[in-house]
């Protein structure tokens, strides 16, 4: 039994996928020339005022409902003050006293990780430093992009649970469509608060906060490394200092950024330029009713309804694109297990080959359903079906049937044609025939392979096997 227990709480910043920013009409699209998506509000010019984007509130409420939170009907925005050049007003509009969503939870390996709150806030701009001219430049394009911050209670006890909690939250948000949840592009950012304590203790140790973690894998690595660092400190009799640390994924280690003594007084107070929200019970109930089926619900339904394994279910429900493809394909072709197998096998492999994430999947469920049907009806064999899939995913083909015809992928099922090939192969490879008849069963596979090759892969393998067995038996 280990001597120490890891205690982790997460702060997850998620950029909402609204078309415009949270307090003005500027576009939130990624990229764009520097400072081309910035107006007086984004730049904090004198006299500019925030005007709340209702869509952002709705997205945040949906996230809260999906994560089992209560919604604060009269939520208030607050100003959080600090000086930094990427923050042009010198305060961030956020929520401290009355956050929009409170008291939720997410289930991780059968236990509930409590969510303390989800609050709304605005993103800051981006600084870039030019070392040659020793000048820092500010790009305000990201300023005012809508964010939610999901804050969990310190209920997580391991690296695995931390990763799993983020995966679950990410899956739910991506299913809702409220964010694209791309950690690499920064639309989902995770800060890890971690402390250790002697196993069995109820008290919380002094915590460190780790920032700059930008993949699921590095969350796990960071938790493991920080746990080890803190245990080592304790064993050496050194104190744990409350501090913010920067995770360096390439080194697999974190380094101190600032300690509690440097902590800022943010001088929070209610944002006077924005009236408190006033959400009605009816409005919240409508949002709740309009929620899509969430990953947790799908996780329970798939094994029962479709007979899928827990492993397959887990992979499918973690990605909105995959479970949408699965559900629609299964409905269209009526063969859910085949649909799951195709997605788990060929589709994921093809994505991996192409180096694309699942949300960039270009595969209409109609096409996949047709491919599955053609194979199960014996029109094409697995090889032909795989070729059709590759063609559709690469954009080479749109119409599956048209592609099958044009490329003559339909199996050769004609008896006389198959029998002719069998005869040909047996004549040209008399050695194998002799070997087989002498009891070497391996030779059968060799002959099958040659026959299939002669048919350019389009032979109905079942019928071919029967004909070959029959012909060999006659000798």
């Amino acid at each position: 039994m280990p001597l120490y227990e890891t205690v982790v709480g997460l702060e997850i910043h998620v950029e909402l996928a609204t078309a415009s920013k949270v307090f003005c009409g500027c576009s939130t699209a990624f990229g764009g020339g520097q400072n081309t998506r910035a107006c007086p509000v984004c730049m904090g010019l004198p006299g500019a005022l925030p005007a709340l984007n209702r869509q952002a509130v709705e997205y945040a409420v949906r996230a809260g409902l999906a994560l089992n939170c209560s919604i604060t009907k009269n939520a208030v925005f607050d100003r959080k003050h600090y000086f930094y050049p990427d923050l042009p007003k010198a305060f961030q509009i956020s929520q401290l006293y009355l956050p929009l969503c409170v008291d939720g939870w997410v289930e991780v390996s059968g236990k509930r990780i409590r969510i303390r709150e989800i609050h709304m806030e605005e993103d800051a701009g981006k600084l870039s430093h030019d070392p040659w001219t020793d000048v820092s430049l500010v790009d305000f394009n990201r300023c005012g992009a809508p964010l939610i911050e999901i804050v969990t209670q310190p209920d997580i006890r391991s690296a695995e649970e931390a990763v799993e909690a983020v995966r679950k939250i990410r899956a739910a948000l991506s299913m809702l469509g409220v964010s694209d949840c791309k950690m690499q592009e920064g639309s989902l950012r995770v800060d890890v608060n971690l402390s250790v304590r002697p196993m069995g203790s109820d008290e919380l140790g002094t915590r460190a906060e780790m920032k700059n973690i930008n993949s699921l894998r590095s969350i796990g690595r960071a938790v493991t490394a920080e746990t080890a660092r803190q245990i080592e400190q304790i064993e050496l009799g050194k104190p744990i200092i409350q501090q913010t640390r920067r995770w360096d994924d390439s080194k697999g280690a974190s380094s101190a950024m600032r300690s509690k003594e440097d902590a800022l007084d943010y001088r929070y107070f209610p944002e006077p330029d924005l009236a408190p929200l006033s959400l009605s019970d009816e409005w919240i109930a409508e949002r709740r009713a309009a929620l899509p089926e969430l990953p947790e619900q799908k996780r329970k339904r798939y094994p029962v309804e479709f007979g899928l394994s827990a492993y397959d279910t887990d992979i499918l429900v973690s990605e909105k694109a995959l479970c949408e493809l699965f559900e629609r394909t299964a409905a269209l072709c009526g063969r859910p297990k085949d649909a799951a197998n195709w997605i788990m096998g060929e589709v994921l492999a093809a994505l991996k080959d192409r180096g694309e994430p699942p949300d960039q999947l270009r595969l209409p469920p109609e096409a996949l359903a047709r491919i599955i049907t053609l194979q199960s009806d014996g029109v094409v064999n697995r090889n032909g079906a795989r070729r059709a899939l590759t063609a559709v995913m690469s954009g080479e083909a749109e119409d599956v049937d048209g592609y099958v015809t044009a490329n003559q992928l339909a199996m050769v099922g004609d008896e006389s044609a198959l029998a002719g090939i069998v005869r040909q192969v047996m004549e040209s490879d008399a050695d194998s025939v002799a070997a087989y008849r002498a009891g070497k069963e391996k030779a059968f596979g060799r002959l099958m392979g040659q026959a299939m090759k002669a048919l350019r892969g389009k032979g109905d393998p079942g019928r071919l096997k029967e004909l070959l067995t029959e012909a060999l038996g006659e000798g």
Partner: protein, 502 residues
């Protein structure tokens, strides 16, 4: 009086007319818009050595607006009653391409890339903006002496201040330079200078006029409003200014209609119920200002209004609550001025970020602004927030409750606008507490978000004009201005300045 008076229309041939009179003259082709604009610019420049009401003259903007308005009028399109009338705007209201300094060194050279909503609306109404007006730095002050561009002076006595913070606006209107002007009022900054300069100023209900483009001081208190010769002009201006603006989340769908106001005469006072808060007349009030206000009360009663005294215990808590809330919001609003992106900066090679910000703010802000920023940041600090800011919010809530119950019995509450007449220059700067107490009648109105008009009610023992204010229910701007027009239909105080030749 020790200084000289420059009242009496000495700066131009159109000085004697109100904004509505000038509008009528434009419509009837008695005067061209360009001629009027040129005359107003000339008068403004001629006056500035005496009263220093302007920081910037916007000749180019004015003349191109004037040409555009004249051609609209020539084609038969009369955008409003004020079409063609010159207007000047306080220098904390953004106008695209025109210097907007807030009378602060830290914004020296700052030119906005966008128009305030009120600037757009004034243009839409066909008025012509001739310049930007002097003020207390960032609207913090009651004398216009905290301006980085030198104090504005009172046209009635140039050794006295015009009040503040919209002192340039009140002085320009009183001197007959601008027919009307826009000020802003966070704790009395429209009404007090209007009273000190013998003109009429209206602080609209919070939310009635968009704040988009108004450089913020105390966001929950700030309102833009008109300063003019009389309440009729204020009403005409309110018609142009009011209306919801999606860019200001605190603006409300309120549309001011001046027709009922402009028709009002003394009969409008009959049956109107006026309440007088007892505490407002108890201590700290100049006896001659007090007797002028009581004379006005008697007159209202003679004209058929009902007048009744009532207790208003929260009155004395308004000034401390105001200075905490306004300073806290100011500390937050003004924290963006770092001298790096615009205005006068201190960014130079070799300074760290913190050093550059500290130097820009140390050199860029004046003493009064620094005092309030420190006060505000203190009130918001961890550990002090509940004792100060939250306590002030509680006082504000109680104050609003007292107004609510008073307005169940009264239509209008009447008080002096300020406890004194205009101070001599330099007299109040060294005693900020005394200066803050001068806001005793005006700040409760801002805390409650109510509409109030200040109007002249006579001349005090020192010969200077005194003002009183009518305070109304939220969004009853029409009601207070209608009562003010009615009062002015039977009194001549608001016309005094025109007839007294230099």
């Amino acid at each position: 009086m020790s200084g000289k008076s420059v009242m009496g229309g000495g700066y131009g041939e159109y000085s004697a007319y109100t904004a509505l009179e000038l509008g009528a003259m434009v419509q009837s082709r008695q005067v061209g818009v360009e001629e009027l604009a040129r005359a107003a610019l000339d008068a403004a420049k001629a006056s500035n050595g005496d009263i220093n009401a302007f920081i910037t003259f916007s000749d180019d903007v004015a003349m191109s607006q004037a040409r555009a308005v004249q051609s609209r009028i020539d084609s038969g399109d009369i955008p409003s009653r004020l079409a063609g009338v010159p207007v000047a705007v306080k220098d904390n209201i953004s106008a695209r391409g025109v210097l907007t300094t807030c009378a602060s060194l830290i914004l020296d050279g700052y030119t906005p890339m966008y128009d305030a909503t009120v600037v757009e609306r004034l243009r839409g109404a066909g008025t012509v903006m001739i310049g930007k007006l002097n003020m207390d730095e960032f609207a913090m002050g009651s004398t216009t002496e905290t301006s980085a561009y030198g104090p504005a002076r009172n046209p009635w006595d140039t050794e006295r201040c015009p009040g503040g913070s919209s002192g340039g606006a009140a002085a320009a209107v009183a001197a007959g330079v601008a027919p009307f002007a826009l000020g802003s009022d966070t704790g009395g900054s429209i009404r007090q200078p209007a009273a000190f300069c013998g003109v009429t100023g209206h602080k609209p209900t919070y939310g009635a006029v968009s704040r988009w483009g108004l450089v913020a001081y105390g966001s929950s208190l700030d309102q833009i409003g008109p300063i003019a010769r009389d309440a009729r002009d204020c009403a005409a201006a309110m018609t142009a200014l009011s209306g919801e603006d999606t860019r200001d989340g605190t603006s409300m769908p309120y549309v001011f209609d001046d027709s009922a106001v402009l028709r009002a005469d003394a009969d409008a006072l009959k049956g109107l119920r006026f309440g007088i808060p007892r505490e407002a007349f108890e201590t700290g009030l100049d006896p001659s200002v007090k007797s002028l206000a009581l004379d006005a009360v008697d007159l209202l009663s003679d004209l058929g209004a009902s007048v009744e005294w009532f207790p208003f215990p929260m009155f004395r808590h308004a000034v401390p609550a105001y200075y905490i809330i306004a300073s806290a919001e100011a500390a937050s609003n003004l924290s963006r001025y770092d001298g790096i992106r615009y205005g006068r900066g201190a960014a130079e090679p070799g300074l760290t970020l913190d050093e550059a910000i500290v130097r820009a703010r140390s050199e860029g802000f004046g003493r009064e602004v620094k005092r309030r920023l420190m006060l505000g940041n203190f009130a918001l600090s961890a550990g002090y927030y509940d004792a100060y800011y939250n306590k002030a919010l509680q006082a504000k809530t109680l104050l609003r409750g007292e107004y609510d119950s008073a307005f169940q019995r009264f239509d209008i509450i009447i008080t002096p606008t300020a406890p004194t007449t205009a101070m001599r220059l330099g007299e109040s700067l060294d005693d900020p507490l005394a200066m803050y107490l001068g806001d005793v009648y005006t700040v409760p109105v801002n805390l409650a978000g109510l509409p109030a008009v200040s109007l002249p009610c006579g001349f005090a023992g020192d010969g200077m004009p005194a003002g009183m204010q009518f305070i109304g229910r939220a969004f009853d701007d029409v009601g207070v201005l209608r009562a003010a027009v009615a009062y002015q239909s039977v009194t001549g105080w608001h016309k005094e300045g025109y007839h007294a030749a230099v």
